[in-house]
């Protein structure tokens, strides 16, 4: 069995507003290195909620979460921020680029925060990631001058900058047209196949999901089926 990247044990989550409502029911999940997994389900089934718990941003849940074999319970906000910075790359439906910074600075930000490499090295790495995604020519532009598909690729480059253990995506193709969705899929697929990158992507798009290693199906806050494609 290959190395575990992420493991969730008996995760339960409740919303208390306006009435107590269980949104996640006893979720158990493991992701190994190099696995490209997708979470599918109807809207409101709790898949995004699960993703935010797994990404350590949401800390109000019951159960255990291990990232890289380390329990995430009772960590300070600072320690969790460090984990997100170092081990998790995030891609959202919306790109969330900072318009005040150039594309390259946007990609560099998490790398500078990590403080593992010098600014020069981080810049070099950022160029490499942009090259990997085929947008190095846009490096010095401001994000608001890019197209939607380009912006999303910049966001992916930003997620990759610290060579994360796992990339998480919350409907990263949700705002994109067919062509750009295809481009994003290709990028993710290449990362998984060529660089052995683990990915966990929440999506609505069956066409996207059907071509990944694993589909995790959720209904009403519980995992009903895990389909292993390869």
């Amino acid at each position: 069995m290959s190395e575990l990247v992420l493991e969730a044990r008996n995760v339960n989550k409740y919303f208390h507003d306006p009435v107590t409502n269980q949104v996640l029911k006893d979720v158990n999940l493991t992701i190994e290195k190099g696995v490209f997994a997708t979470v599918m389900g109807k809207s409101g089934c709790g898949k995004s909620t699960l993703l935010y718990i797994l990404s350590t941003m949401d800390t109000e849940y019951e159960g255990e979460l291990f990232i890289d074999g380390v329990n995430m319970r009772n960590r300070t906000e600072k320690e969790l921020a460090r984990v997100r910075n170092e081990k998790i790359g995030f891609v959202f439906q919306f790109h969330y680029l900072l318009n005040e910074f150039s594309v390259i600075r946007n990609v560099m930000l998490p790398g500078l925060k990590l403080e593992k490499y010098s600014e020069k090295e981080v810049e070099h790495k950022a160029y490499e990631k942009l090259k990997l995604l085929g947008i190095e020519s846009e490096a010095l532009k401001k994000p608001n001058h890019l197209s939607g598909g380009q912006k999303q690729r910049v966001a992916i480059a930003r997620a990759l900058i610290n060579d994360p253990l796992i990339i998480m995506g919350d409907e990263p193709t949700g705002n994109l047209d067919k062509k750009n969705s295809e481009v994003v899929y290709e990028i993710f697929n290449e990362l998984a196949e060529r660089y052995n990158q683990s990915l966990l992507i929440v999506t609505h798009d069956p066409e996207f999901a059907n071509r990944t290693h694993r589909i995790i199906e959720m209904v009403d806050g519980a995992i009903t089926n895990i389909v292993k494609m390869k």
Binding site: S48, Y52, S55, M57, D58, E77, K78, A81, R82, R84, N85, E86, F90, F92, Q93, F94, Y96, L97, L98, N99, E100, F101, R105, L109, P110, L112, K113, L114, E115, E119, R158, N162, D170
Partner: protein, 419 residues
Amino acid sequence: MKIKLIATVSFSLMLARLKQTTVAAVGVTFGITMFITLLSFMGGLNDLLDGLITKRSPHVRLYNEVQPSEMQPVDILPQYAGCHNFVSSVKPKNEMSEIYNSREIMNTLKRDSRVSGISPKITVQVFYNIGSIDFAGSINGIDVDAEARLFSFSDYVTTGNYIDLKNTPNSIILGKGVADKMLADIGDLIQVTTSKGERVQLKVVGYFQSGLLDLDKVQSYASITTAQKLLGESDSYITDIQIKVNDLEMAPELAKEYASVFETNAIDIQTANAQFETGSSVRTLISYAVGITLLIVAGFGIYNILNMMIYEKMDSIAILKATGFSGSDVKNVFILIALTIGVLGGLLGLLFGFCFSMIIDQIPFVTAALPTIKTYAINCNPKFYIIAIIFSVVTTYLAGYFPAKKASKLDPVIIIRGK
């Protein structure tokens, strides 16, 4: 590295909202400018008014007062010790207010390292004679050089040359009010009657204007030898010794010491002019209150602008947190913005405040009561500048702290899911 990263983020946020940031900084600049100008102006005014009295007042004055004897004969008798004595048979002696052994006292004082200068004085009660009318007044016999050096005597001699008082025998510098009444021009001879009934003629060599009208109506100046002649006393006769000390705060202590060592009365400047101190401190208090109010208002401006910035930049805050910036990093970003506004605005305010003070310093201010004053006075005390910059940094820090704290507590999940 970390500070640099936070600074980059702060500055880019500020540049993105350059207009609001500038408005906030201008608010601080305005507050500091007014604070500096107000305090400098008020300080100058205080110095001016205090100077009216204190510049010409000795720090410690030695004199003799007519006093009853402290010991009555009956107190000395042992058989009445412990009894209540109501017999006071010994009345104050008819001794003049002369300071005994004045020459020796002055020599001792000159050797005292705490004393920066001394000037002897004689006060003579006289009647000025105008035709058939006499009116009461006084003539101060002074050591002209010492008086000029220690008490800026020359500044107040508005007409004529003060040094003539020393060089011309039997000369007098009349108070402006006295001169007006006597219709005396420079070079005229006037007549005074001493308290012993002697009539003396004195030559007017100048007018004196202290700025205090009542004083100028009665007081004139003569040299110490002229005054001694008026009284028919020897050249060791002196009624006052005026002392300037190096450290003004020491004056009350020294007054006590000299009173017991030289067996005279002694009064220090603080006791003699308590009412001026009170006036100054109240005026200073008011200007501080106004200045600080201005700064607090500027602080509210910064608070508003940062709050707005946080609402506008919620997405950015969310993504910074999602990619690994901790709450305290986000807080530091916004505090740094506030401090930058505060420090830049504050420094500009200091500069403008200084310029305004300098402009006020050039505005003509002529009044008959203050002959030496030509423009408004300004006190450029570095203390005001230090207080202003410290206060601007503290206010802006506080104004930034609360919005920054709010930003640090923002939950990225709520913002991202809200899209």
